[in-house]
Symmetry: C2
Subunit: 253 residues, 2 copies
């Protein structure tokens, strides 16, 4: 069976009309998928309203106990349930899950080295049996970036990493396409021109484009990560706009 | 198969040590159960911190759009995931669900009559197939009081009503005991004396106690509701302290 694992950003959930058009697109896919969502902006907005200071180190957030509660409320609560309700309204039998639910995404708290990142998780394992049980019943899992450690800690986790781990876990039994959405048409030769879209990237083309410095530096870690998940068993990685889930750029072996 | 549907209040989730002893008690039950939780205090505290005014009418809350978001964050988010993570840490394979998840608790928005209660739901249907699928796999459903209408509205719902509807739904296939927890040992002859506990209430005894005005007026709606769920198929209703889930008062046919 073929399956898509689709990662979307939190920005798409905050605005009702954007959420509606995203869910229209997902409902019309007509094939099984797993959705993994972020929620960054919703967390930041809630922290701001609550007067909780967001602590950063080198541009990355530190998750103290108050910030964790905010992330759980915003991501596992509001973002997740809004998405699920909007999908249900369109006939998609969605089920919201955070990592703790049926222990579907286990992680460990990141070790303290130079800096204590707080309640931040690095994913250890995704339970593909549970996800397959749901998919076999026609259920679409909608996964928040709140994972948990078997000790019982809820942990804030990078949603891209959760999506990659879910895709890798499911590739043990399905042919998986991992879809990353962004606010461009895909990987572009000219970052300001959607017509300069590269439809397919192979290792040979990628080496050539990098040698010629034709790929925007922000795209390099995304494509490098795409190849890591492909090495781990994922069939292909698509980088595209949420409005064109079958389009954009496909990264392939 | 016998199964317990256990309703707990939100107060038990807010404090870590209270939550820990509740989850110890649940983990040592050694039988399948479904947990339904409220979250009232967590919602009120969050509303207060956010400066959102809680609108009331005759002692009951009106759920406007801002209050609904708070309820979804506090109940479907923080309360639900804290419970699930704490149960997982004790070897209970819990799965948090709100009504929208796999459409497990469908409701409709309460009709506007003299007063518009806002985004408040009255339960229409509980999907016992979904709950049975989970229970058959050894999964313990943990249900928040956020339900949804098939139109896609998330709806704040009375947790006692959700628990009753879940118990009634499950009684189509199991022998169900519905357990309501409170901060007393159960139904007491003398409200200030836990030793005055009535261990079993039958319709005959209930009629007698009411005629003699020996039952505290606050208990009458609880026992009336217990008999309504028993008429709807639930085997028995237990009213007890969360520290003594096998004790307290059993209301029987």
């Amino acid at each position: 069976m073929k399956i898509k694992v689709i990662k979307i950003g939190g920005k798409l959930i905050e605005n009702n009309s954007v959420l509606a058009s995203l869910c229209d697109a997902l409902a019309s896919l007509g094939e099984p998928f797993v959705l993994v969502h972020g929620g960054g902006v919703m967390g930041s907005h809630l922290a701001q309203k609550l007067g909780v200071e967001v602590k950063m180190h080198e541009g990355r957030r530190i998750t103290d106990s108050a910030t964790l509660d905010i992330a759980v409320m915003a991501y596992a609560g509001l973002a997740n349930k809004r998405l699920v309700a909007a999908l249900q309204a369109r006939g998609v039998n969605a089920c919201g899950l955070s990592g703790c639910d049926m222990a579907v995404v286990k992680s460990h708290r990141r070790a303290v080295q130079e800096i204590d990142w707080g309640f931040v998780g690095d994913v250890d394992d995704v339970d593909d049996d549970i996800l397959a049980m749901l998919l076999d019943k026609g259920v679409i899992p909608v996964i928040s970036p709140i994972t948990f450690s078997p000790k019982g800690d809820l942990l804030n986790t990078n949603a891209d990493s959760v999506a990659s781990a879910v895709a890798e876990g499911l590739s043990r039994r399905y042919e998986v396409e991992l879809v990353f959405t962004l606010d461009k048409a895909g990987v572009l030769l000219d970052v300001n021109d959607d017509n300069s879209l590269i439809r397919e990237i192979t290792p040979a083309l990628y080496a050539e484009l990098r040698a010629e410095e034709k790929i925007h530096s922000g795209m390099i870690p995304k494509i490098d990560n795409a190849y890591k998940t492909i090495e781990a068993g994922v069939a292909s990685v698509r980088i595209t706009s949420p409005n064109d889930l079958r389009g954009g750029t496909v990264v392939k072996k």
